[in-house]
Amino acid sequence: MPWRKYSALALVWNGLTGNRDWTVCWRDAAPRDRYDVVIIGGGGHGLATAYYLAKNHGITNAAVIEKGWIGSGNAGRNTTIIRSNYLMPGNIPFYEWSMKLWEGLEQDINYNAMVSQRGVLNLYHSDAQRDAFARRGNAMRLHGVDAELLDRDQVCALVPYLAFDDSRFPIRGGLLQRRGGTARHDAVVWGYARAADRLGVAIVQNCEVTGIRVTGKRVTAIETTRGVIRADKVALSVAGSSSRLAAMAGLRLPIESHALQAFVTEGIKPLVDHVITFGAGHFYISQSDKGGLVFGGDIEGYNSYAQRGNLPNVEDVCESGMAIMPLLGRVRIVRSWGGLVDMSMDGSPIIDLTPISGLFLNAGWCYGGFKATPAAGWCFAHLIAREKPHPFAAAYRLDRYALGRLIDERGAGAQPNLH
């Protein structure tokens, strides 16, 4: 008997019968010539959008169009961190909603995405940084989000293996969000794909979009390597390539594409329980359930569509790692990879209508797209279905640049590589 629902029982039954009854996780659909909604981009965001579009809004005549294999973009190239420890009022409710969706995700989609709330700890190294973290932690608490400001001793009790002394920037404390953590990135993609597929959404892989047809000010169809697909609504969910796709519809975006490298070490026995970020450099690290330390740092800093980076950044990231964890010295990096991120001009995302009727945009995620996956899908689906922004994503409008309603967490201004 084919097991549609995953459970321990299903696992035992299949184990006893040679694992012959498992069926495809999702169906690899061939494109039809028309859908109500076409979502371009089979990453976590696109698939989550498809799922919530079907589940929350009953729109099932929809297709997710993916150039390669689903999850081949940033959904499969990140450091798997989830958190909602933001400062700006435009961001906190959105990311907190995402966190809430993470917390119930596995039961909702019947797929173990290994959401692990192991705690995200941001280290501070000066009084000024402490005060900035206090400001952020307080903003979170006022929004009902968990946050704890720790002093040096409290940090030491939590993560005694850090370099507290003999350090260029001694650790003076940290901001801890216990509900933050990690999730298994690929599983998020597959889980949403499976859940969306069950609700009737078509998932079309190996289908590259080559054009967007606009008549008057209205989108009518997309052109792909597998033919023209007509649609009433076309939704872009292609972080890293947003500008290229938007250009097909004649739009320019407040976005630059940058490469971001990440690294994983050989598997080692449990060492790092939390997600830790270093406040005096740009560095974040966690340990996967398989034992590899997963870490990353800054973007490369120049426009790039090459999914790779250069040596200075690798060295920089490792220097930061050694600055707080000198016991990493002999642990070996086994793989690195590069993803393309949509660096927006204020460091915050865009989920909005566009000047072209029927064309919707989900873009500009900078470093932070993975943790946003559930809420981005939720809010983007709402936008597509209702043609009105979801309240949690109300700040993510395109016109905020013209109006000056920027959401600049870092205060870096209109300079993408400083965000």
Binding site: G15, S116, W190, T265, I268, V317, R332, S336
Partner: protein, 994 residues
């Protein structure tokens, strides 16, 4: 000693090999003492002593043995060394044996021979690929508490050291005409061609001996044994001055513009690095041309029980036999689908080793291959299973006639060779499948890289020599050198042919594809059934190729098995991409010396050593270390010291090192115009001898930086920036000048490091200053009033600049002297000021006084505030264009409900304020909807004797004397505060002007 050296190990041949039998090397495995020879790897020494079961697999804890002889080894991983130098997951095949080497088996309990986790295998049907995605979901809270800790504990391989790495690492830059990667036949020929022509050549090999496969084969070059030929060639290369030979050096990454990263293992073949020597060196090699001659890696065949210790790659068997004189078995079966497997059989036979049979998957083989073989051959056959408890004891062979058990204690498997194209893939570009050799090659390598030899799919020695030569010639000829080598040496040209054969489908036993992660053909079938048919999905779902061998022993086998199962061709199926590093690289090597206190350079102020002598406490402000306060005996705590410093300044005189401010000298006819466009306010009207406060915006209209500008002459200006933005402001000015307005006659240069600058502050500042200012310089209030600036001399002729500007609200000067006089000036100031009670003060007191005066600093200039927010809106000129003017007028930047700067004080004066607290109306609920502002800076004001603060508050300026709650949930501290103007002392500014 002599007894030791004559003990060759049970599996060591009595003669032969490239080991030094005169040097016995003692090492330990799990604390048991063993011996090998100099020139051994840990793997060859273990095999020589009969240690064949050396590890356990990741998931099922199946017994595993050495499989390969290179860095693709998936099984034989150890914790090498101990204590702070413990290195988990070290491949025995890459470790050069040294005296005192300590190796410990890992991921097995209590031992590799009896591992209790072996029980996992019983559940293997339940824990097939991806099982964890389907369960552990109920109840939700159990994931973090129960399931995940169990998984995490079981996962991971070796244990990392728990303490800081005691060794150090170096970074080196190198430049060359030709970088040759690999020193096998192709590499050596390329190096000879380039080296003899006079090019600058670097040759890297990951091995500790040069020669690549020439060390491993019984082949002849120019009539001599290959190993002798390569030794002669290396000797010659060694004499060429522009050729650098680097053994133990792995080129692991190819980056943009011909930059290659290489790791040299300087001391890894020693117990501890010699004094002043690094453990490893990271080389950044800038190469005009590169020849990738990295050879090829052998792959196995997927059949039942193929992971049993004793099953090895055929090429590795040959390497152990020929290079190390180790025969890892007594009776072999060779399982092959290509000619190369036969070579192993021939070599074994030549060593007098029993080869029970050659199991050949092809129905026929060329006459030249089987010639001279008089043992048993089974054509069109395959091994379907193996037997043995622990080590392999027999192979079960399916021949066209029957199924038969052949007793053996070692199986050499030859599944074909994968060219090592990894580095060529680092820039993207898809490898191409070549049917004739059943392997991927790379036809579109990065710019200026040529691929030669086995790495390019050349499978015979003669072809490798020839390709290497041609690549070397091509590389130098494009650089203008002339080749002096005409043709390659003569070599045995062994034919190569293969008929792809990947997977013995008849196998009922688990047939492994990825040994380290326990991914079997059955797992690939399952994942294919579940729709994970893209190679990348397969990899991610099953973890195939995600181990420490980086998929080098598994990827092609895995995708071929997938292709086989899904009925697609291999080119259709595709290959996962290779990314740096080619072989795992220690994090410490990437970090180099930049760790601990050397993580980033430290900038010290001119008064640093003097302040140190005074016992100052320092704090990091960006790259700078600045004196935070100067504790005196009698100060109860830091606050006490700060209060003392502030009082001394406000009542007498004090000084502070402000040399960290960015300082820029400007000259030219258009400096005034230039500054007008840079700052919101006007400087072209600034009279000579005057200073003015200035604020600049970013082009997006938000406040960027502030400072002062002084006009020293008609065409000469001096400006300061904040410490934090010194670099960025200078860069911004260069942009404005070079890109936007290069027509302006302006020259400027950073003088931050050239001027030591001190503020001298307090009602007695002038009196103190008079002692050192030369008599002809009049600094009276009339001659040198508030905001005056000028060049003076002090201490009988030392050039100095004096600016009458104040950050503290007191009568104050900033004095600048050439940096070399900085420390002397401090001592002079202390002496001259002694009668007036001169008190050095640090950044804390500086901050207290600026908060008392309501001056903004970094906490307020946070990149999100506008000039208006900071109460500086009136400075914005309406008569000129300047950076940021237009966008500062956007609706949301001028809205009345924006947060703007206010002062705050606790209504109960005994209460302490804290920066980072948010402001909520008095009776409102403490939640986000009532969040109206934030406290940005706080200080205890010695003048007012209570805490004060600056805050950004919605519509702040209109809310003076309103009472609010300062809520600080993260510190559980709520204080009622009253809003006031952001200036607590001398609002009229009278003290400045006295």
């Amino acid at each position: 000693m002599t007894a030791r050296t004559t003990t060759p190990g049970r599996f060591r041949l009595p003669a032969g090999g490239l080991i030094d039998r005169s040097k016995s090397v003692a090492f330990s495995l799990d604390r048991r003492r063993l011996y090998g020879f100099a020139g051994d790897t840990l793997a060859s020494a273990l095999l020589a002593s009969g240690r064949r079961l050396v590890a356990r697999s990741f998931k099922y804890h199946r017994p595993r043995g050495v499989m390969s002889a290179g860095s693709e080894e998936p099984n034989a991983l150890f914790e090498l060394r101990s204590g702070a130098r413990r290195e988990p997951n070290t491949k025995a095949t890459t470790v050069e044996l040294y005296d005192g080497l300590e190796a410990t088996t890992q991921n097995a309990w209590p031992s590799v021979h009896f591992d209790l986790r072996r029980g996992n295998a019983l559940f293997s049907p339940l824990i097939a690929a991806g099982f964890y995605y389907k369960t552990f979901m109920w109840p939700a809270s159990f994931w973090e508490r129960v399931y995940e800790p169990l998984i995490r504990h079981a996962a991971g391989l070796g244990r990392a050291s728990a303490v800081a790495d005691p060794d150090h690492y170096e970074h080196v830059n190198a430049f060359c005409d030709v970088l040759v990667i690999g020193s096998g036949p192709a590499g050596v020929m390329a190096a000879l061609a380039a080296g003899r022509a006079g090019a600058r050549v670097i040759v890297c090999d990951e091995d500790f001996m040069f020669g690549g496969r020439l060390l491993r084969e019984r082949l002849k070059v120019d009539g001599a044994p290959a190993s002798a030929w390569v030794r002669a060639a290396l000797d010659e290369l060694g004499t060429l001055t522009d050729v650098r030979l680097m053994a133990r050096t792995t080129v692991f990454g190819c980056y943009d513009s011909g930059i290659y990263a290489a790791l040299e293992r300087v001391s890894d073949h020693l117990a501890v690095p010699p004094t002043h020597q690094p453990r490893q060196r990271l080389w950044r090699i800038v190469a005009k041309r590169a020849v990738l001659a990295a050879g090829a890696t052998e792959r196995g065949i997927v059949f039942g029980g193929n992971d049993r210790p004793g099953v090895m790659l055929a090429g590795a068997v040959r390497t152990y036999a020929n290079r190390f004189a180790v025969i890892p078995g007594r009776r072999f079966v060779v399982f092959t689908n290509n000619n190369d497997g036969w070579r192993t059989a021939h070599d074994l036979q030549a060593c007098g080793v029993d080869v029970a049979a050659i199991i050949e998957t092809r129905d026929s083989v060329p006459q030249s291959v089987s010639a001279g073989w008089n043992g048993r051959i089974e054509l069109g056959s395959a091994i379907v299973a193996t037997k043995g408890a622990g080590l392999v004891r027999a192979a079960i062979v399916q021949t066209p006639r029957a199924r038969e058990t052949i007793a053996c204690d070692a199986i050499a498997v030859a599944g074909g060779w994968n060219p090592n194209i990894n580095l060529a893939c680092h820039h993207g570009g898809r490898p191409a499948w070549r049917e004739d050799i059943a392997a991927f090659v790379h036809t579109t390598p990065p710019p200026a890289m040529m691929i030669a030899g086995a790495a390019n799919g050349a499978m015979t020695l003669a072809a490798c020599l020839d390709e290497g030569l041609r690549a070397g010639q091509a590389a130098i000829e494009t650089l203008g050198f002339k080749s002096r080598v005409e043709k390659p040496p003569k070599a045995d040209d062994e034919a190569f042919s293969i008929r792809p054969f990947w997977h013995v489908r008849e196998s009922r036993q688990k047939a492994f594809v990825d040994f380290q992660n326990d991914v079997s053909a059955q797992d690939i079938e399952l994942s294919s059934r579940e729709g994970f048919r893209s190679v990348e999905h397969l990899k991610r779902y099953t973890t195939l190729g995600m181990g420490t061998d980086q998929g080098r022993s598994t990827n092609v086998l895995g995708l071929a098995t997938l292709a086989h199962i899904t009925g697609r061709s291999i080119s259709e199926t595709g290959i996962t991409s290779f990314r740096p590093p080619y072989a795992p690289v220690a994090i410490g090597a990437f970090a180099g010396h930049h760790r601990g206190s050397a993580f980033r350079p430290i900038r010290r102020t001119p008064s640093h050593s003097w302040s140190q002598q005074q016992g100052a406490v320092f704090m990091e402000t960006g790259p700078w270390l600045r004196a935070q306060y100067f504790p005196h005996t009698g100060d109860k705590d830091w606050l006490d010291a700060v209060i003392r410093e502030v009082r001394a300044v406000r009542t007498g005189v004090g000084f502070c090192d402000v040399s960290t401010l960015g300082k820029i000298e400007l000259q030219g006819a258009d400096v005034g115009v230039f500054l007008d466009r840079l700052y919101v306010n006007t400087f072209s009207t600034l009279p000579v001898g005057r200073a003015r406060y200035g604020l600049m915006l970013r082009e997006d209209g938000f406040a960027f930086d502030d400072g002062t500008v002084s006009r020293l002459a008609d065409d000469r200006f001096f400006m300061t920036t904040t410490t934090a933005n010194a670099g960025r402001v200078f860069q911004h000015m260069q942009f404005c000048h070079q890109v936007l307005w290069s027509e302006l006659d302006v020259q400027f240069v950073s003088a931050t490091d050239q001027w030591a600058q001190f503020s001298i502050v307090g009602p007695k500042a002038r009196e103190a200053l008079r002692v050192l200012v030369d008599a002809q310089c009049d600094i009276s209030n009339e001659a040198f009033p508030y905001m005056a600036a000028g060049e003076i001399t002090i201490c009988s002729g030392v050039t100095a600049r004096l600016y009458r500007i104040s950050f503290s609200g007191e009568l104050a000067y900033e004095i600048g002297v050439p940096a070399r006089y900085g420390e002397t000036l401090v001592r002079v100031l202390m002496q001259a000021g002694a009668p007036f009670g001169m008190m050095p003060y640090g950044t804390e007191a500086l901050s207290v006084m600026r908060i008392e005066k309501g001056h903004v600093a970094g906490n307020e200039l946070d990149g999100r505030t506008t000039a208006r927010d900071l109460g500086l809106g009136r400075m914005m000129s309406t008569k000129k264009d300047y950076i940021g003017r237009v966008l500062a007028a956007r609706p949301a930047l001028i809205g009345p409900d924006r947060m703007s700067l206010v002062g705050i004080r606790p209504t109960d004066q005994s209460q302490r304020l804290r920066a980072g607290a948010h402001l909520v109306p008095g009776n409102a609920a403490i939640d986000a909807s009532n969040d109206q502002g934030v406290i940005t800076s706080v200080a205890f004001s010695p003048s007012l004797n209570h805490w004060i603060g600056l805050a950004l508050l919605q519509s702040g300026a209109a809310r003076l004397s309103e009472r609010l709650k300062a809520v600080d949930p993260v510190r559980a501290n709520h204080v009622e505060v009253e809003i006031c103007a952001p200036c607590f002392i001398d609002p009229q500014g009278e003290r400045l002007r006295v």
